[in-house]
Structure formats: C-alpha cells, structure tokens
C-alpha cells in the first residue's frame, strides 16, 4: 500500500500533506498486532469529523461508508477515471488512491458540499443547463475537476478544458456538452 502514491497524478501528490508523525508507523504496527484502527480527523464540507478506521482505509471508502457521503463514486480503482475526485484543501484529488490517513487534518470537499445551501454552484447549474451528463456516474468527479481547472484558469479555451479533464472518463456524453458546461460556468464565475 505504500506504493499507492505512485499511481497518483502529479497534481495529486503535490497537495498531499506528509503523514502525521507515527502515521506509517501506525500502519506498520497494525500489521504486527499493534492498534487496529487509526483515529482520523478530517473536515468534510466544513464540518469537523473524527473517524476510527483501519489504517488501510481509502479516503473514498471513508467518505462513502463511514461519512455516508455516497456522491463520490468508485469506477476504476486505479486513479484513471476520476469518478472519485474530491477536493483536498481546495485541490482536486482522486480519492480512490489516497489513504484516509493522508487526509488527516485536511479540508475535504465532496460534491455534496459544493452548492451554497439551495444555491447550486455555477458548475452544477451549467452541467444541468448544457446537458453535460447522462447516467451521472462520472459527474461529481467531473465537476470537482472542473472546479480546480477554473480556479487555475478563469477563462479556459475549449482545448484547455479538454486537456484539463482528460483524467476524467465519461462514457455517455462524448464530452462536448461537458466542455460547454465548464466554459459557461467559467464565464458565469468571471461575472
């Protein structure tokens, strides 16, 4: 499991905080009869939460199974498809290849936390408006990746958008309406 970082894209690993002191040690001890669970403190969608999980627990499973936030999806388990994308400290990260322990002390935003109360985020609005989704399974990850894309480039060209979401797979839409949705959301966010 220590090699999981290998699978993370560059932009993922650059935002990961180092494990807390004792992090890897705790994982090691869990294999040789030490403590079987880790206490992890994460702020999820603005709320501080504490979890007792197996050290090997993936962030996506903590979010889905322990925090009950099932909007984050698992579709490939190899960090390729991006369905599991969440924001860790504001950066898009594929949560299927991040240990929950690595998010210790971080601020995690999932699709459930993107809207401002009843007010949809511009990306959510525009995905709806432009028919940027069909089965919807890739959509949460696609929206959170797009969020980072716009944060780093407020006026992206179509080509930049297509490049920016190449780490997210959609099997339904052929991407065109997704590109249009992101472009429209960027415009809305610039206004």
């Amino acid at each position: 499991m220590f090699s999981l970082d290998y699978f993370m894209e560059e932009r993922n690993s650059s935002v990961m905080k180092p494990l807390p002191v004792g992090g890897y040690a705790s994982i090691f001890f869990s294999c040789v009869g030490g403590p079987k669970t880790l206490e992890i403190n994460i702020s999820i969608n603005g709320e501080s939460r504490t979890f007792d999980v197996e050290p090997r627990t993936l962030l996506v499973h903590l979010l889905r199974d322990d925090a009950g936030l099932t909007g984050t999806h698992v579709a490939c388990e190899t960090s390729i498809c991006g369905a599991c994308t969440v924001l860790i400290d504001g950066k898009a990260v594929k949560s299927c290849t991040v240990l929950a322990a690595q998010a210790q002390g971080c601020e995690v935003t999932t699709i459930e936390g993107l809207a401002d109360g009843d007010q949809l985020h511009p990306l959510q609005e525009q995905f709806w408006e432009k028919h940027g989704l069909q089965c919807g399974f890739c959509t949460p990850g696609m929206i959170l990746t797009a969020n980072q894309l716009i944060a780093s480039n407020s006026d992206p060209t179509d080509e930049e958008i297509r490049h920016g979401i190449e780490g997210n797979i959609c099997r339904c839409t052929g991407y065109q309406n997704i590109v249009d949705a992101i472009s429209a959301a960027a415009a809305q966010m610039r206004d």
Binding site: A75, C81, E112, A115, Q134, R162, H163, N168
Partner: protein, 775 residues
Amino acid sequence: MAQAPKFIGAPIKRRDDPRLIQGLAHYVDDFNPPGTLHMACVRSPYGKANIRSVDVSKAAAAEGVVAVYTHEETKGIGPVPVGGLVPDAKVPAQPILADKQVLFAGEPVVAVIAETRYGARDAADLVEIDYEPLDAVVDLEAALEPGSPKVHDDYESNQAFTWAIAGGDVEAGLKEADVIVKEKMTNARVAPLALEPRGVLAHYLPGEDKMTLWTSTQVPHKVRTLVAGQIGMPENRMRVIAPEVGGGFGSKLNIYREEALAAFVTRELGLPIKWVESRSENFMTTIHGRGQVGEIEMGLKNDGTITAFRYNVLADCGAYYQLLTVAIFTLTGLMLPGPYKIANMEMNATGVFTNKVATDAYRGAGRPEATYILERMMDIAAVELGMDPVEIRRKNFPDKSEFPFNTSAGLSYDSGDYHLALDRALEAADYPAMRAQQEEARKDGRYLGIGFSTYVEICGMGPSAALGGQGWESARVRVEPTGKATVFSGASPHGQGQQTSFAQIVADGLGIDANDVTVVHGDTDVVPYGVGTFGSRGTVVGGSAVVYARDKVRAKMAKFAAMEFEADANDIEFEDGKVFVRSAPEKSAGFADIAMMAYSAIALPEDTDPGLEETHFFEPSNFTFPFGTHIVLAEVDPETGDVEILRYVAVDDVGNMINPLLVHGQIHGGIAQGTGQALEEEMIYGEGGQPLNASFMHYALPKANRLPRFELLHTTTPTDVNPLGAKGVGEAGTIGSTPAVVNAVIDALSPFGITHIDMPLRPERVWRAIAEKRA
C-alpha cells in the same frame, strides 16, 4: 391532440439532473441496509484450467467471514439464462460457480461472504485453489482448425452454431459483376465499460417471504422472472429495483451469475448481501461486444451498381452464451444490405467458442459490424472503380418514393430519404472545399482524409415475433386526485432521460405542465410488467405505450367532463390546465377539478368506473429505420501514425424528436464510442486466455482531448410505425461513426497505396502500414 405540442419537440432540461449534480442520487452501492454483508468472488486466473482442489478452510476461519460458497453449495441454482438461439446452437450450461473446470479468466469459483467490504476481499485471498492450466482457445480462426484445443471437452469442436441468411442469388450477382472486390475485416472485441460497474444488493425478509433485489440493470423484469426461476422462488415474491443505473450500453441487458448468487445467499442467511464489481472484474466478466472476423466479396457493375454482397463470418461467442449472444450476430445479417439496393446478399455465420467471457449486446449490437464492413467495402469499391465515394453511394440508394423499401434481407424499411441526408451533410461539410483542403495539405506533405458513412439502422425493437418474444413495452398513466400525473413505465432508462421526455409526452396530451408529471420506472413492484431499455426502444416503444395509456386516461376524463358540462365527450378539450367544451369554451373547469370528480365518484358517467389510471402494452408493427450520413475529416501523422479528427459532421434522421437536447446527447455519446472502436478500443488476450488490458490503465477509451467538436444536423422523416413518429437514437452515433472514421484514415493514407487497415487504428498499427508501403 388538437392544439400544437407545447412540450414535445422542446429542448427541456432534464429533471433527473438536480440529484445527479449534487451527489444525491442512489446507485446500487449507495444503499446500505443494516446488517449488510459483502460478497467477494474468487475467480480463475486462467483461460482454461482443471480445478484439482479447492480449500476454503482458511477463508472460512478468517475474522468476520460469515459463509463461503463453492459449486457444491450452489449447484441447485439454475444455470445462467440464455435466449435468442438458432436451431443448431450448442448450448453449454453456465454454472453459477465453476465445478471441475474454469473456461475463462474471471470465471468465479468461490464466493466469500463477510461483514465488511475489505474483509470479504481479504478472505477471498485466503482461498486456495489448485489449478491445472490447460491450452486455451484464443484466436477465432485457429479455434476451428483440426487439432485445436477445445473450449468444451464434451463437444466435437469449437463450433458453437451456424446461421445463414440470403436474399436473391449471390453467385448470379457475382457473375453479372464487372468487378469483384474482396477484403478480410475484423470487428475487434471491445468492452462496453459503463462507468458504474455492475452491482447487486439482495435482501430477503423471511417473515414476509419476500426478496428485494437492487441491481444495476437495463431489464428489471427479466431479472425478476429469470433469477427467481434460477433460485426456485415464485417471481411475485421477488421485487427487483433498478435504482439509478450508471450506464449500460447493452452490458446490463443481461442476467449475470452474481445476481442469482446474491439472491440465493440472502435467502440462506436472511441478511442483505451486497456485491459490487471491481473494474477488473468488469473487464473480465461483464459481456463484451463485437468480435467478428470475416471475408467479404462484393460484385459491382462499372457504373458502381452493386450486384452482390457476401459475408462469411466467424463470430466470437466466448466460452458460454449470455442472454442474447447468438441473436446479436443474426442482427448483423439483417443489417447487411444497409441503405443500398442490393438484390443479392448472403451472410454465412459460424459461431465459435473461445476461452473468453461471452460477447453480447453492446451499443448497436450486431448492426455496427454490418455497417462497418459495408461502408468500408463501398470505399474500397469506389477506389477500384475510380469513383467518388459519394457517387457510388448515391448510385445504390433507393429513392424516397421507393419506401416502404423491401430489402433482400427480408426487412421493410419504413421511411427514408437517404439522398437528402447525404446532401445536407455534403453542404454542411462543404465537401468541395474539404477536397481542396486535402489537396493543398498533400502538397505540404500532410495527410488529410475524408471518410463517409451513409447508414441505416434497425431500431425500436421491435415486433415481438421478430425478437423471439417480448418486443412490446408497457406504461401506466395515472392522473392523481389533485391533478398531477404519474407515469409508470416498463422501460428502464439509465441515463437516456425519459423521466423528462415521457413527462413531455403526457403533459402535451393532457394539457398540463410537464413539471406536474412524475415518471417512475425500474421497480417491478410498482410499474407494470415491462421489457426494458435497449435496442433504441425506450422512447420509440416505451414512449408509444405512454401515448396510448395517456389517451385512455384522457378519454375517461373527457367522459367525466362531458357529464359535468352536459356535452359530448368528443367535444372536450384539454389545454393549459383547463378542461373545456370546444364548441362552448365558457364551459370550463380546472384539470384537477375533473380529476377529483373521478375519484370522489359521487356521480359516474354511464358505464364508467371511478378513478383515472390506465395501462397500455404497445406492440409495434415493425422496427423503425433511422438513417443518416456522417462525414469525417481526419489527419494522419505519417511519422507517428497518430490520427487526429479535424471535423465531424453528422446528419441523423431519427424521425420526430421528443427532446432535441437528449437526442443530441445520445448522438454525441454514440459517436464517441464508435470512434473509440475505430481508433483505440480492443480487448487483447495472451496465449493462455488472460486479458492483457483489463483496466482503464491499459485499455484505451476516448477521452476529452482525443475527440473533436461534433457538428450535428438533422433531416426529419417520421415513421408511421408508432404514434410519436419517432425512430430511436440510442445507437445511431455508434453505428454511423466507426466506418466514417476508418474511411477517413484510409483516405488519408491513399497516397501510400493503403486500402485497408483493421481496427483499432492505433498509431502503431497505422505507422506499420505506412512503413510497410514505404519499404
């Protein structure tokens, strides 16, 4: 309806979306009833092997493990259901867990039930299976050679079935021809790859003797009837729910081992059992599509008239059939003449067993294969005859006055104007300018190519007799006492958007707002018995059932209104939330007032029961036949073999459109998938039958940066097969795109004398073809 449609034809935003964009939708894996146990399967790593022994003792003793199942404990479960067979098909029984042999990599041998997701997978790793690996059958052609290893020891050979279809006289047609062109072509095995993997959650309540099965499926009622049958349970004690389903593309038009297994185990243990496929399991155990290798012979007159078309094909079945494995290949035969007047055609198909997972319906299902070889051959013939690819197509189109057009494959195409779609596409693409651009580029040493695909497809499946049963669809429409309407559909959409388009259909007929209509589907306890969503039938057949059910309810409401207004029921009109007398519009009431009358039932019209709820089962009289022209401009880098699509122009005629926004979405997605097959996608197997690219890291599928912006246009030729005049659109893009893309690449490479390269046209394959010609 008297008034012009207000909602039908409008690009209305989807009502499914708010839950999906906020992460509030529920797919199978999002349900967690208390006490849920998790199932993990131990699967064969070999294409073929004898199972010498299975030792589950360590797994059974592991912490948190509740039960372990092998073939012995599950042999009472019926085999995986198959249908759509041809007379001489050999039908091997597909067990739920393998017994003495495994016949494909991924075949399940042991199922472990544990308290947690991780625990189940841990315990699965503790199962010890002693295999004796055997020679696997991987290559289709080698499989039929004498002395080939066999997939099934009990059969004489690897031949699974034979099937032929013929119209006219191909031999006579070939004699009549001035030129005969031949080519051997492959439609590679590809993986459907719905983004949501398959999953099932089965929960049996002993006290009620009732099971609920949540499963990621396109056909909930088929699952209920067939899985209940497999485990020996009356089907009316089982409720199947297809909740949010994350794509299917045909792969979830099936009954899989894990569904029966979970249903069997929950009945034994009385606790909910959940199984969710990993992506590698999805690659190895969910059906694949295509899988054909064939030789084509085509005869033509010098003026381009086709005199004969023959396809001798080997069809890759895999080790076992799934629900429609054999039937899919027969669709290729029906589609073979395409949009052309081909008087003499035949297809001779030989099904072949291989040590691989079954092939079955994948978007287009048999028809893209036919369209691909036909459209490729049209281009090959055009080169041979020195004709423009446009002219050779025109030469063979039926005129619009010839519809309904009877083909030599025995179908009657409902309506069409193929010339018009082609004209529209040529105009949108500015074909002469495109050729000029190609010419200019060649001077600069750049290789541009233009590819055409003029296609027709068989949709709206379909007449029940033509499908071997169950070609109809059901709908129930209920007007509630408060004037809202609810549609219960037997179709089972999974991304297509019928929660919106069916609401549009009902709103128009009843003169109410589409937002006052709710659409329910995918729950066998709630909706009438249904067939499901596949074969571009959701709107064409399912939507038509909605039309008839809606009109029955409307007719009944009109009786109540007629009683109230002392008018004739035929003189009652529905518009803008009002019900009124057409000849005396001052006699008017709110839609909800009339609805309440029907439920209060204090007074009843003659021969009329209380309530407003009507069901209709719609049986179509024919398939529908959408058509179109796709034009691709592509550039090939001769130094790398890389292909870039510069322009994609598509004219699709899908008949009347209920919601153009959804129609465009379907075409976009279809083009992307068909382009994937043309350029990138292919399952690759090693000699031992192991898939070598069973992950998203190793199997290329289209990503955003590899696709162009699609330019979509339409012609509209309605059908009279159904009351909507709609022809279906789910598969159009997949069928039209694959040959258009390949034809563009081959056209680009024509200066090298290249006339054909087999799909997928990955850079390496294209580069080798160029290098060979340069050498």
